[in-house]
């Protein structure tokens, strides 16, 4: 069996791939999530609540 290195990391990597493929999720939002990941605050509710979707991106979808 292959050696498993941090399942959580694998899942988060997969999640970001899926987010980037999803046209309905704005790029800025994904970038914000990536920043939170670097800061290890992805599970911080306040940070996620503050991560708003900008209006122009939301209206026009992915640029």
């Amino acid at each position: 069996m292959a050696r498993v290195v941090s399942i959580s990391e694998q899942i988060i990597d997969r999640w970001f791939v899926k987010l980037k493929q999803d046209d309905t999720v704005p790029e800025k939002f994904v970038e914000g999530l990536e920043l939170l990941r670097k800061q290890r605050r992805l599970s911080n509710l306040d940070s996620l609540r503050r991560l708003q979707v900008s209006a122009e991106e939301g209206e026009n979808g992915r640029h």
Binding site: M1, A2, R3, V4, S6, I7, S8, Q10, I11, I12, R14, W15, V17, K18, L19, D22, T24, V25, P26, F29, L33, L42, S43, N44, L45, L48, R49, L51, Q52, V53, A55, G58, E59
Partner: protein, 850 residues
């Protein structure tokens, strides 16, 4: 790699006095019949590494802290010495001394390396959600689950914002509808509805229709323009206010009459004339009170003494009272004057206030001449008020006539009427109120709608943002759940492969494989278990499989998970299987045993069994699998409440007995020797019972003592194994007489035992020692057992101890290597290779016939 060297346990579960289970860094095969304390060692290991015992924690009403301790001991000691020299004890806690030991102990905290007989079906029998929970320690998803929960909460918060904004939208829509007088909308109000309603209001003004709310400002400007075109409405309003103020002033001045004052004044003046004296009513009243109260003998006003006789003073009092009665009329008229004064002053003040209001309005319009005329009226009113405010005594008839005449000369009414007439003429040319009012109301309404719509636009923006925010976070959560399920499912596929590999080693039936773990999509965490059963691929194994196969499946899943855990913690190699082989049916047990010993050869295994036959089989399988040198085989011979499990080795017991016999000089030491001999004899007979397949009368829990086994052993040795009997006859016959001496030192008191002498006890001990040498081989450390051939021959494993059948040639046992060689590999593995075996037998038959 670190492993366990020694496990020491005292006062825990079924272990009373200190017992040492020596691993020597190897795996341990521990045999002990039911209730001899095998599981106590397993529990002790779990307690040491995890701090609790799972079966105690799971059972309702039980706990490790309450029920872990041995009932006869106050002190609990559990201590493990690891192969790197580190010591871990329950008393001192886990304080790893080396980094390797640290890794080892960190991994040992999760008890996922221990499988007990009763747990073997746990994973299969549990509902999907519990299965997922069982897998969680192997799948450290805490961080991911926290992220999902935070996203879920964030999406929920955004949804609340949406709901709040929607509620505010509805409130605003209702207020707009209420202001326009149209039916209350169910949800939002549309722009066209509002425009339509406003257009119908604008229709009467001739402004035109409203196509969008953006034109509202223009429409409002148009209404304002219409209002301005009607003229200076502010001036008209001002003049209307002046006219109103003039009317008010005329009315208040009309109320100012002197007559109500003059009449009581004249009455008062008449009284004063009649009385002809100054008013001293007050003085009289106070004097009278003083006289009565103090009974003084002089006048309170002038101090003149009067006749002190009470009769004279009473006469004075009567005189004063008479005076006062006369003054009453004057007093009443004076009060009337005061009342009339007050009423008149109120009216003058009202007229004064009305004139001041009018004055302000006239000044606002810049009409100075009218203001100065008004000032004259106000000045006359002031004079009138001054005289009215005088004390009635000071108000003389002459003064009153002068002021009244002056007020009459003002002639305020004609002048005010003339003023009103002039302003009415001006007002006629200004806009009318009835023309202005609808436009003013419309102007205000349009302003209100404009404000409400602006607020609605702002709330709508908030709603759109919150909706977008909610949608994006919801989708992000969906993607997170998908990612988790995908990755976990991929891991399950790897696990499936491992489970199937292991399962196939036990059950190679191709119609019963394809075991799959599947994450339930509908739930956050749930695992389904599928298995192929002939053409039913993907069925719940519980539906078709028998208990034996379910046991094998449960064991395969556990072992696969154990390997999975090893991938994460390569330094941790402990595997504990507590009596699990005996829960699997005989058909599969050899395969399971071979699987464990071969596939998990790099693990340190603690394997317990309560089945003596399986214990022996497993020892053979160890040799066949080539892992014999990696195993320590231990047997628990006995268990008592006070002594706990007896782990002593037979040759150690024999050496101990020899020492006791050598030192036996006192009756007590002979008793010790006889006691040890009794225990060794019991041990020997337990071994013989299995190896010679002795028939004994069945007994509860199979706890057979010397009394039950000896007669059968002696009889079988005489009849079936004459080689043994002939060679050891002296010892066997002696023991056949002496074995009851065991009771001499036993728990039971016998009358005859009290007459047993020291020499008898010593002889019994010596006979047991001799018997041990007859049945236990020092070379291979195994007891004798029947040889495969010829029948009736007994030998140890290596052939050092050999009891041939009288008259027949002794046949030394074939070594494993020789047997493998001779059978052309048929006995190479734990499982007999039937094809090779049959070929070997055919060749043997051919050779014999030639």
């Amino acid at each position: 790699m670190v492993g366990i060297e020694i496990l020491e346990v005292e006062g825990f579960r079924g272990i009373g006095p200190r017992r040492v289970l020596s691993f020597e860094g190897k795996s341990v095969l521990l045999f002990g019949e039911n209730g001899t304390g095998k599981t106590s060692f397993v529990d002790a290991l779990e307690m040491l590494f995890t701090g609790e015992v799972t079966p105690l924690e799971r059972a309702q009403g039980l706990s490790t802290s309450q029920h872990g301790k041995n009932i006869c001991r106050k002190r609990t000691v559990i201590k493990a010495t690891l192969t790197d020299g580190s010591e871990v004890s329950l008393e001192n806690g886990q304080t790893p001394e080396t980094p390797t030991a640290e890794n080892y102990l960190a991994a040992a905290v999760q008890p996922r390396y221990i499988l007990r007989r009763r747990q073997i079906l746990d994973f299969i029998e549990n509902p999907p959600k519990d299965r997922y929970e069982m897998l969680e320690p192997f799948l450290p998803l805490g961080e991911v689950m926290n992220i999902e929960q935070a996203l879920r909460d964030a999406a929920k918060a955004a949804k609340s914002e949406c709901d709040e904004a929607r509620e505010r939208m509805l409130t605003l829509a209702r207020r707009i509808a209420g202001a326009l007088g149209i039916p209350t909308p169910g949800q939002d109000i549309s722009e066209s509805t509002v425009c339509q309603a406003i257009s119908s209001l604008l229709k009467s003004t001739g402004i035109g229709t409203l196509r969008s709310i953006s034109e509202l400002e223009t429409a409002r400007s148009s209404v304002d323009g219409k209002l301005k075109s009607l003229g200076d409405f502010e001036e008209a309003n001002h003049i209307r206010n002046i006219l109103s103020a003039v009317e008010t002033l005329i009315k208040t001045l009309s109320d100012v009459h002197m007559a109500p004052l003059v009449s009581p004044l004249q009455e008062m003046w008449r009284f004063q004339r009649d009385v002809g004296a100054a008013f001293f009513e007050d003085v009289l009243e106070r004097g009278l009170k003083w006289i009565r109260a103090e009974e003084l003998d002089f006048c309170p006003l002038c101090g003149t003494r009067w006749d002190t006789k009470p009769r004279d003073r009473n006469a004075l009092v009567k005189r004063i009272e008479s005076e006062l009665r006369e003054m009453k009329g004057l007093i009443a008229s004076r009060r009337c004057v005061i009342d009339a004064q007050r009423m008149l002053i109120d009216k003058i003040n009202a007229a004064n206030a009305a004139s001041n209001s009018l004055k302000v309005l006239l000044e606002g319009l810049g009409r100075g001449e009218d203001v100065s005329h008004l000032d004259r009226i106000v000045a006359s009113l002031g004079s009138l008020r001054d005289i009215t405010q005088c004390r009635p005594d000071e108000m003389s008839p002459d003064k009153l006539h002068v002021v009244t005449d002056a007020w009459d000369d003002v002639r305020w009414e004609p002048s005010l009427r003339e003023l009103a007439q002039r302003y009415e003429q001006v007002s006629a040319s200004l806009p009318k109120l009835e023309d202005v009012e609808p436009l003013t109301r419309l102007y205000g309404l349009l302003g209100q709608i404009q404000e409400l719509w602006g607020e609605r636009e702002s709330v709508l923006k908030t709603l759109e943002e919150a909706t977008r925010d909610h949608e994006v976070k919801r989708r992000a959560l969906l993607r997170a759940e998908e990612a988790r399920k995908e990755v976990v499912q991929e891991l399950f596929k790897k696990l499936d492969k491992e489970i199937n590999n292991l399962y196939k080693r036990i059950d190679s039936d191709p119609e019963r494989g394809n075991i799959r773990l599947e994450l339930r999509e509908a739930t956050r965490g749930g695992v389904r278990l599928w298995k192929k059963f002939y053409d039913h691929d993907g069925s719940d194994p519980r539906a078709y499989e028998n208990d034996a196969r379910l046991d094998c499946l449960g064991l395969s899943i556990f072992l696969a998970l154990r390997r999975f855990y090893r991938d994460e913690h390569s330094d941790f190699n402990l595997l504990v299987l507590d009596d699990v082989l005996t829960s699997i049916d005989t058909q599969h047990t050899v395969a399971v045993a071979e699987l464990i010993l071969k596939e998990f050869a790099d693990y340190q295994i603690l394997l317990t069994t309560h089945d003596r036959i399986w214990y022996e089989h497993l020892r053979d399988i160890q040799a066949r699998c080539g892992v014999k040198s990696r195993f320590v085989n231990k047997a628990i011979h006995n268990w008592t409440l006070t002594e706990g499990p007896d782990l002593s080795e037979p040759d150690d017991e024999s050496s101990h007995l020899e020492r006791l016999i050598a030192d036996a000089s006192s009756p007590e030491s002979v008793q010790d020797a006889a006691g040890a001999a009794g225990r060794l004899l019991e041990h020997i007979l337990q071994e013989m019972r299995y190896s010679l397949r002795l028939s004994v009368q069945a007994k509860r829990e199979e706890r057979y003592g010397i009394g039950e086994i000896w007669p059968s052993f002696y009889k079988k040795a005489q009849g079936r194994y004459p080689g043994l009997y002939q060679k050891c006859q002296g010892t066997l016959d002696a023991l056949n007489i002496r074995w009851p001496i065991r009771n001499w030192v036993g728990a039971h008191f016998n009358d005859w035992a009290s007459r047993v002498g020291n020499q008898d006890g010593l002889n019994f001990a010596r006979s047991v020692g001799a018997l041990f040498k007859c049945v236990f081989c020092d070379e291979c450390r195994r007891f004798i057992q029947p040889s495969m051939a010829p029948a009736g021959q007994l030998s140890c494993r290596c052939g050092h101890l050999l009891y041939p059948v009288p008259g027949k040639e002794a046949v030394k046992p074939v070594s494993r290597e020789d047997l493998v060689k001779a059978s052309a590999g048929a006995f190479k593995d734990a499982r007999l290779d039937t094809e090779l075996y049959l070929r070997w037998k055919r060749e043997e038959a051919v050779a014999e016939s030639n």
